[in-house]
């Protein structure tokens, strides 16, 4: 007997296998983003669907290594010592949470920051000389 209609079989998304935000790209280590082929929206991390237009035509992209510090805090609880973290607005209007490194330029909202990588650790630090 042939069914008159076919229902879609929805598939689970293996999102636990694509956890890391740091990836290797031709230009070097970069934060992993996902770009929508339909509307062009770029998002942080590995996604299979666009949160704007719900298209599944998305692809893995390297996010810019530079951005602007939106805000930050120095955490004193739940960590050894003090941990500076902040929200970075990357140059393609993607916001990411990130560990921060203190440098010669004091942290404050609005300063330009750049991605740094040491092993599998990544962070943002004030752009030197700014």
């Amino acid at each position: 007997m042939t069914p008159s209609t076919e229902v879609p079989v929805s598939a689970p998304i293996a999102d636990l296998e694509t956890d890391s935000l740091l990836g290797t790209f031709p230009e070097g280590p970069r934060l992993v983003g996902t770009e929508c082929g339909q509307c062009g929206r770029t998002m942080i991390g590995t996604r299979v669907v666009c949160s704007s237009c719900v298209s599944r035509e998305v692809s893995r992209v390297a996010l810019p290594s530079t951005g602007v510090l939106y805000s930050f805090t120095r955490l004193h609880v739940g960590v050894e010592g003090v941990r500076p973290i902040g929200y970075i607005d990357l140059d393609d209007d993607v916001r990411t949470l990130a560990d921060l490194r203190e440098g010669d330029t004091p942290l404050q909202p609005g300063i330009p920051v750049v991605l740094g990588v040491e092993g599998d650790q990544w962070f943002f630090a004030p752009v030197a000389g700014e």
């Binding site: 949160s51 955490l75 004193h76 739940g78 973290i85 902040g86 993607v94 560990d99 909202p109």
Partner: protein
């Protein structure tokens, strides 16, 4: 045709570290006291709505079975800090739509089970995996707010000072000792610029309110109580890029909808119980509720316009900062405070001739969202 809904009684236990009490131990007494206050029997109850985030399976049924309140639907609701107020919204909806006549709303939480520290968030969340905790979210909100506005770290301390002054008058508050600006600033740093005294405490609590339709209130000979003039629930909307953390849109939108539903404006309010989980939140929410323009909240605070004797008393109970914040209980406890204020039973902290009250809780901790949930209620003395 929709029904008018009334809160006809309220009860709660003082918030605090009740290490010897389970969720059942926290919830049963206020449940009995709320039914008694309404002058009704358990057989008069059509449904029970229970807000909690960490109570585990069947928290509501575990509490209600202790007094043999069964058979009727019991709905357990999780919406983080909005859990209790979401339970309230569901109960209001059912009565407002004429589906039921009498509902019990329970908010309950036991945070001492975690042994202190920041609230445990979902380990599945991207930013939680990166180590984000709620104090850090509000600290970044504060850093940006201080950067953009005239506000100073002393203003953040002033919010805590006001909360403690109000809490000192409230027998239900976890903290009843006043503090000074100097003490707040000198307290242990948690997440700069927030010190420990700018963060709500860890504690346990339970609060219960009873709701009734107008006809049930008459049939049961229940107290007049207060009318629910608005009940609004919003969810956060994802933003992948820039977000203005000083303008939490979910609270702006909820307030706009609540005022429209109630047919009043911010100038009509006599009191507000708002979600001051961290002191920066209070300033941001003055603006979200239209008490003042964006970035100008500190003027209201410094001039005493949001304390007793001012235009509108914000957090007469002491708020989350002083009364405490057992997550799922907070939304219902705010409604209990509004009930006591609008029925002239608030004792030493009574606001004279209080007629209109607004209560507000959010629920946060999800990457890409301002907050996960926001609930606003407006009440009118009946």
């Amino acid at each position: 045709m929709t029904e008018n809904v009334f809160v006809i009684s309220a009860a709660m236990i003082p918030f605090g570290k009740h290490r010897s009490s389970s969720y059942v131990g926290l919830g049963v007494s206020p449940l009995i006291d709320a039914l008694q206050g309404a002058g009704i029997q358990k057989s008069d109850v059509d449904a029970v709505y229970v807000g909690h985030s960490y109570g585990g399976m069947m928290t509501g049924q575990r509490i209600t079975k202790e007094i043999g309140l069964g058979t009727v639907p019991t709905v357990n609701v999780d919406n983080a800090c909005s859990s209790g107020a979401t339970a309230m919204h569901e109960a209001w909806t059912a009565i407002n739509q004429g589906l039921i006549d009498v509902a019990v709303v329970i908010g309950v939480e036991k945070l001492t089970q975690f042994g202190g520290g920041a609230l445990p968030l979902s380990p599945e969340d991207r930013e939680v995996k990166q180590g984000l905790i709620m104090p850090a979210v509000y600290a970044m909100r504060a850093t940006r707010y201080l950067y953009e506005s005239e506000a100073t770290v002393e203003d953040l301390a002033r919010v805590s000072v006001k909360a403690r002054r109000h809490g000192a008058l409230n027998p239900f508050a976890q903290f009843r000792k006043e503090v000074t600006v100097e003490e707040v600033l000198a307290a242990r740093p948690v997440a700069d610029p927030l010190t420990l005294l700018m963060c709500c405490p860890t504690g346990d609590g339970a609060a219960v309110v009873v709701l009734a339709s107008e006809r049930a209130r008459a049939r049961l000979g229940a107290p007049n109580g207060m009318r629910v003039a608005a009940s609004v629930l919003h969810s956060g909307q994802v933003e992948e890029g820039f977000r203005d953390m000083t303008k939490p849109e979910i609270s702006y939108q909820s307030a706009r909808d609540a005022y429209a539903q109630a047919g009043i404006g911010p100038e009509d309010l006599d009191m507000i119980e708002l979600h001051d989980a961290f002191s920066i939140a209070e300033l941001v929410y003055y603006e979200a509720f239209g008490l003042t323009e964006k970035h100008s909240a500190v003027a209201l605070l410094r001039d005493g316009r949001t304390t007793f004797g001012g235009d509108v008393v914000v957090n007469p109970s002491g708020g989350l900062l002083a009364k405490g914040h057992p997550v799922g209980a907070s939304g219902v406890a705010q409604i209990a405070e509004a009930f006591w204020q609008l029925t002239d039973q608030a004792g030493a902290r009574q606001i004279e001739d209080a007629r209109w009250a607004l209560t507000h809780v959010t629920g946060g901790g999800t990457a890409g969202l301002d907050h996960g949930a926001c609930t606003i209620h407006i009440f009118e003395a009946a």
